[in-house]
Symmetry: D2
């Protein structure tokens, strides 16, 4: 499978901070979703395309490792690396602040038929094609 890595910039907003004046740990789930949406956008296969094709990609598994904490105004870079496509989409994430890795994470998504709810163990053709055509 073709190796695809994308990078997304996120600036830490005030409303994501907790009483320790750092990003509340649960908010990193938003950052990796933003990066994942951007990943699919860059593949020309975004949320709207999926929706129109009747395929959904719910998260089945997610893990996060917190290394350092992010602060207000930090310019984070979220790296998405496509690791597996079938039978499930596995993406690995690294978040960097000032060049230093502060978090690593991964998600596993299943392709699901939006009408029947059935799990699709083969990646939808459009997604496979989008990956093949992706030019970094």
């Amino acid at each position: 499978m073709k190796k695809i890595t994308t990078r997304t910039q996120i600036k830490v907003p005030f409303y994501d901070l907790d009483p320790m004046n750092i990003v509340w740990h649960g908010n990193y789930v938003k950052y990796i979703e933003e990066a994942r949406c951007d990943f699919f956008e860059k593949l020309n296969y975004n949320y709207t395309s999926m929706y129109n094709d009747g395929v959904m990609y719910p998260i089945a598994k997610m893990d996060l490792k917190f290394i350092k904490s992010a602060k207000f105004g930090d310019n984070l870079v979220v790296e998405c690396i496509l690791k597996e496509l079938e039978p499930a989409i596995v993406i690995k994430y690294n978040i960097y602040s000032g060049g230093e890795k502060i978090l690593s994470a991964s998600t596993m998504q299943m392709a699901v038929d939006a009408k029947t709810g059935a799990t699709l163990y083969q990646a939808p053709e459009k997604l496979v094609k989008a990956i093949e055509e992706y030019d970094e």
Copy 2:
């Protein structure tokens, strides 16, 4: 119009706190929504009923006055008072902590036909009936 007042208890969770160790101001919008859902639930006319009836009630206007701040673990009481029903639903809110008022707010919601998107200036019959039948 019949006067209806309901009360909903909310315990402040950790994830709603900001760097000042108090509830971030935007989170009160969640508290008043929770209280409003509870209000309609107590009227036996909840979100699911509305949805099944094909009527939506988007918020058209909202204002909040912040008097005091809430802290982790505070047991808040959110009071909902129905003020107007037509042409729009106006609800007033008071949030109390330890008997002291810490916030007042109000929302205006329009009834909208879910299919056509048309504004309904008369309150749906079911809602009027639910209010009439409500017993405090």
Copy 3:
């Protein structure tokens, strides 16, 4: 008082959507906060400067009018207009999507001494100077 208007771009993320596939109304509070932080940043008087100067600016009042709804991926422009500085900071907001206004809002913030909690009815000197020196 000098008229200052700033503009901030926000792209609607997936996690801000509600069951109607539009931005949940409470999330606009985040968008106007982001724009306000950007406003103060552009003034060279950001959250960190305020914090170091021992002055806080809690929101005392906020109102929002919802005109149209924003959707996934919309590129919003949030306009901040400084309306009043003393005795309280009043900012007006307009959110545009594709050139069309979808929301208007305003906030009132009091300057508060972080140590004593006392309200400051005169704008801090640094803020006044930052406004004077601001060049659009």
Copy 4:
């Protein structure tokens, strides 16, 4: 180590729903935090006690497995099971809806000296005592 299991009830609020009309996956992080806070509360060793003792318990690792989705108004039961205490606190979570398991998760927290930032590999005495004295 003594086995401790607590249960916390959470009712799914409207604002946690996503366009599929189910709870957005990232919101389960809030539910397990609420259950964990309740766990420590029931141990008589809550967030405020920790804070006063100068010990923090940041999340170092978290993983979630999504089995089924929760809907508006669902009455969830979040089960917390203390698995390890040293060198890190490991808690396992199960979320049930209508008796059916819909999510399993786990968190690893390090005890950290709030002043020095140093990791404490031995559980603080107060926490050990709180666990010993806990009566189910």
